[in-house]
Amino acid sequence: MNEQEALGRLDRLIVERLRVPKGHLLQDGDEVASFAADWRIVDLGIMVEAEFGIPMSADKALSLKTIGDWRSLVRANSNG
């Protein structure tokens, strides 16, 4: 999976898990807590671990405050 593909899948997961409003263009500076409660952010961590094989935990997921943090994490773990 190359970086572009990985980021595309991550965005799809973020939209689905965090219930991002339709039509909203995700920006690196967007705060994830503005979209959903903590438990949904942990769900995103669960799906990221399942899809990308990145070891996650509740505390780690909650420490990623912005969309940019999540993208950086996936970028760092992607092959491309």
Binding site: D43, I46, M47, E49, A50, E51, S57, A58, D59
Partner: protein, 470 residues
């Protein structure tokens, strides 16, 4: 010829019998006339003497629903003083209680056992040990500790790829699928999870891992059809046929129950464990839970609690250490205190069937009331534990992890039994109690070497009857 002769003989006998019946009818008529005359005479005499008599010969359908008290007896009762009459009413007409009331010793035992169960709920059951999916900040400020037994039981874990799991392979233990998974669910195509099922929560998502009757039934179907039935992470129903090598159909049918049970046992002591009984039903309930953040449904809450360590072991610890204590101690107390008095002759005679029935009903309702009140204390304490954690952590899931589901289930069952005991018919109890009192009085009347004594004697003035203390 012979036939004609026989017919003639029979006709003659019928004729004779007819004559005899006619004579009997005449005699009967004469007797009835005499009886009518005698009745008229009696009524005439009664009228002259001023005695009121009830008309005999009431048809069955005209029978009054209650016994008519003869006038002289009614007069006797009427002449009793007010206090005696109210005492009689209280003694014989008041309804027998459906549930024997608690006495002081009962109350002491119920409260003591309830408090013991509450203490055990707080210290031994407590919170399940946190997992990596339990946010640390949800624990901040919380006062409820991790349960001692909960922690102890989770220290013993086995690898999920253990020998029993390898022996009892089931189709619903898969987390990654060969077929492409879709996120958007087109009409007519069953929804399927993208990227497979997250491995650490696949057990709560698949119905075959549910240790309940429902889980057993779906597990059987899954094993026989070699497929996976469950929900995706959001609670949408999924059914995925599992491709690849599988045992032949006959083997699958014959071994399905063993495979289901064996696989369940192999997973109980794994790090994440298996979900609580009934989890698959909860997973299908996509209804919002009051107070839950961000519209979390019952399905979401069930999954979250499992993620955060509330598994079958926690459920069992809660059941044994709270419900078990209540049931064990109260039943032991009931047996020790009442087993002798509950002895009823079981010889099957009709006269004792009613006593047996009432004794059983009273025994069951007495036990139901004591169990209900003790479970009420234990469940109330659990509600307190949930509230304390909710107030101190302000985290919904942290509070929800305190729910002792096993105790609440048993409390619900005991409440239904207690309400049933309260609502039962007590006419038979009352009748038997009255009969027993009457027998005691008769015994009292005859106690002095057979010489009869009476309980109520006419007063010297003859105006009323007075009670005599024997």
């Amino acid at each position: 010829m012979n036939n004609d002769k026989d017919i003639g003989e029979e006709a003659r006998r019928i004729h004779e019998l007819s004559d005899e019946v006619g004579e009997l009818y005449e005699k009967q008529k004469e007797r009835l006339d005499r009886l009518d005359a005698a009745q008229e005479e009696i009524e005439k005499l009664a009228a002259e003497l001023g005695v009121d008599i009830d008309a005999p010969g009431i048809a069955l359908e005209e029978k009054p629903s209650r016994i008519v008290i003869p006038h002289d007896l009614a007069a006797a009762i009427g002449s009793l003083d007010e206090e005696t009459r109210s005492e009689l009413d209280r003694e014989f007409l008041s309804s027998a209680p459906a549930v024997p009331p608690l006495d002081d010793l009962d109350r002491f035992v119920v409260i003591s056992v309830g408090c013991l169960a509450a203490l055990s709920d707080f210290v031994l059951v407590g919170l399940p040990p946190p997992t990596k999916w339990t946010p640390s900040k949800s624990e901040e400020g919380g006062v409820v500790p991790v349960g001692l037994i909960s922690k102890l039981i989770k220290k013993w874990t086995v690898d999920s790829d253990n020998w029993l799991a390898r022996l009892c392979k089931v189709p619903y233990d898969r987390t990654v699928f060969d077929r492409p998974m879709v996120h958007d669910y087109p009409v007519g195509i069953p929804p399927q999870p993208a990227g497979g099922l997250p491995p650490h929560i696949h057990r709560v998502l698949t119905f075959g891992h549910d240790p309940s009757v429902f889980g057993f039934l779906v597990g059987m179907i899954d094993i026989i059809t070699w497929s996976l039935t469950g929900t995706d992470i959001d609670g949408h129903l999924i059914h995925i046929p599992i491709p690849g090598p599988k045992p032949d159909l006959r083997t699958r049918i014959c071994l399905a129950p063993l495979l289901w049970l064996g696989h369940l046992v192999s997973d109980v002591a794994t790090k994440q464990g298996i979900p609580i009984p009934g989890s698959s039903i909860f997973r299908l309930c996509r209804i919002p839970v009051p107070g839950a953040p961000d519209d979390a449904t019952l399905s979401d809450v069930t999954r979250k609690l499992y993620e955060q360590g509330y598994d079958f072991r926690q459920y069992v610890v809660g059941g044994v250490m709270v419900s078990g204590i209540v049931e064990g101690f109260i039943r032991l107390y009931d047996w020790m205190r009442f087993s002798d008095s509950d002895e009823v002759k079981r010889d099957g005679m009709r006269a004792q069937l009613a006593e047996n029935y009432v004794a059983d009903a009273r025994k069951n309702s007495r036990l139901a009331s004591r169990l209900f009140w003790t479970h009420a204390i234990a469940s109330g304490a659990n509600a307190g534990r949930i509230s304390i954690q909710a107030a101190t952590t302000e985290d919904f899931f942290s509070a929800a992890r305190n729910v002792n589901l096993a105790e609440w289930k048993i409390f619900g069952k005991r409440t239904v039994e207690y309400v049933g005991a309260l609502a039962r018919e007590t006419d038979l109890d009352q009748a038997l109690a009255n009969r027993q009192k009457l027998e005691e009085r008769w015994n009292a009347l005859l106690f002095d070497g057979g010489s009869a004594q009476v309980l109520y004697l006419e007063s010297p003035s003859g105006s009323h009857f007075e009670k005599v203390n024997l």
